[in-house]
Amino acid sequence: MLLQSSASSYLPILIQGIMALAFVGITMVITHLVGPKRRTIDKLTPFESGISSVGNARSPFSIKYFLVAILFVLFDVEVIFMYPWAVNFRELGGKGMIEMFVFMGMLLLGFFYVIRKGALDWEK
């Protein structure tokens, strides 16, 4: 099956999108207008269990799952290649299947490498 969408089939989505944004926008504007406004000192500081905080929340701090993010990018891109295969599965037949086996085999190989390297272990 070929992709046969024309611009016209996006039209309803566009319309729904506009309506969704309109709903969100209008609601937020209305609440902005009808809600009360009270400024008190306590509202001016970030909530941290009732104690004024030390330092900024925007400091460079350690993110353990940085590697997870990188892996996500890799795997997500590779998974994309499976989509057209899955949808054209019947046309591609056995040959496509074998090719997919090879592709996935390589993917899994990389995956096991990642696991062996301990990239997904919290404690290191």
Binding site: P12, M19, M28, Y65, D76, A86
Partner: protein, 317 residues
């Protein structure tokens, strides 16, 4: 398609139905949780406490619209809008009954995946913009959780695509006339359900929020309608995932003829919404590194194997 209904009516109808379902879920969830937890739940306002929905909405509307001075104003306002808008857009691809779909679209599923990726931004941006430490931790957790579960959410759907040969949800439903996909794709269903839970970050996977640890996680600094948007976005997310599970694995609107197709669709969707609420009532929350590890080390290989086995069986037939 044989559609004779004015598409404007469909769009309006879907929007109306989704927003009202989400609002109604406030009551449904609280009553059901109460039922399972041996207590009453809201029962004062109106019959069976139904007017709590109205009372809650009024409250939300008339709360102070507060943007903290220390926050990143623009992002802070946009983050909650993103979640509602993307979920609402995702509903365009779901066929409610034969011909009743906003966009009968041949790449429907891809559109859903795209919008669900966008939805992840709302948590990250909301938490980051708040400039609050709890919110920051919540946002970081949310990011890790959602990108992990997105990978194999897509993978788990491929089984269905393989069987039906289409990304179009109407075609997928029609392909289930001989038997629902839950039978050949049980593993796919399970993975999709778990991933769906994680994407909607509901208990047991409410790790970006995790009240007992991070107060309210990524939306600690939110109040009024902006909090309401996160709130309603979550309920719409639950409805969306339930509707998708129904469509992809449980034959969508298909059912015995004595009731109209739309009834079957709604009934099945509601059943899954209840399942979501039941899960919330019964399961504890895993630690988030456990969740991420479970995703990568167990669900991802499982999804791949599921796909291969499905393919192999399909080829032999």
């Amino acid at each position: 398609m044989e559609t004779a209904i004015n598409p404007w009516w469909i769009i309006g109808g879907v929007l109306f139905a989704v927003l009202n379902t989400a609002a109604g879920l406030i009551w449904v969830e609280r009553r059901m949780l109460a039922l399972w937890q041996d207590r009453y739940g809201p029962n004062r306002a109106g019959p069976f406490g139904l007017l709590i929905v109205l009372a809650d909405s009024i409250k939300m509307f008339f709360k102070e619209d507060w943007i903290p001075p220390f926050a990143d104003r623009l992002v802070f306002v946009f983050a909650p809008a993103i979640v509602v808008a993307t979920v609402l857009m995702s509903f365009t691809i779901i066929p409610v009954a034969p011909g009743v779909v906003v966009a009968d679209f041949n790449i429907g599923l891809l559109l859903f995946l795209a919008f669900s990726s966008l939805g992840a931004y709302s948590i990250m941006l909301g938490g980051w913009a708040s400039n609050n430490k709890y919110a920051l931790l919540g946002a970081m957790r949310g990011a890790a959780q959602m990108i992990t579960y997105e990978v194999f959410m897509g993978l788990s759907l491929m089984g269905v695509v393989l069987l039906s040969g289409s990304f179009n949800l109407t075609d997928i439903v029609l392909a289930q006339q001989d038997g629902w996909f839950i039978v050949p794709q049980f593993i796919g269903f399970f993975i999709f359900l778990v991933a769906g839970l994680a994407e909607t970050h509901r208990l047991p996977f409410d790790i970006p929020e995790s009240e007992s640890e991070l107060v309210a996680g990524f939306h600690t600094e939110y109040s009024g309608m902006k909090f309401g948007m996160f709130f309603i976005g979550e309920y719409m997310g639950v409805t969306l995932i339930s509707a998708l599970v129904t469509t992809l694995y449980f034959g969508g609107w298909l059912g015995p003829d004595f009731l109209p197709p739309i009834f079957w669709f709604l009934a099945k969707t509601f059943a899954f919404i209840c399942l979501f609420i039941l899960l919330r009532a019964s399961l504890p929350r895993p630690r988030y590194d456990q969740l991420v590890e479970y995703g990568w080390k167990f669900l991802l290989p499982l999804a791949l194997v599921n796909l291969l086995v499905t393919g192999a069986i399909r080829l032999m037939q």
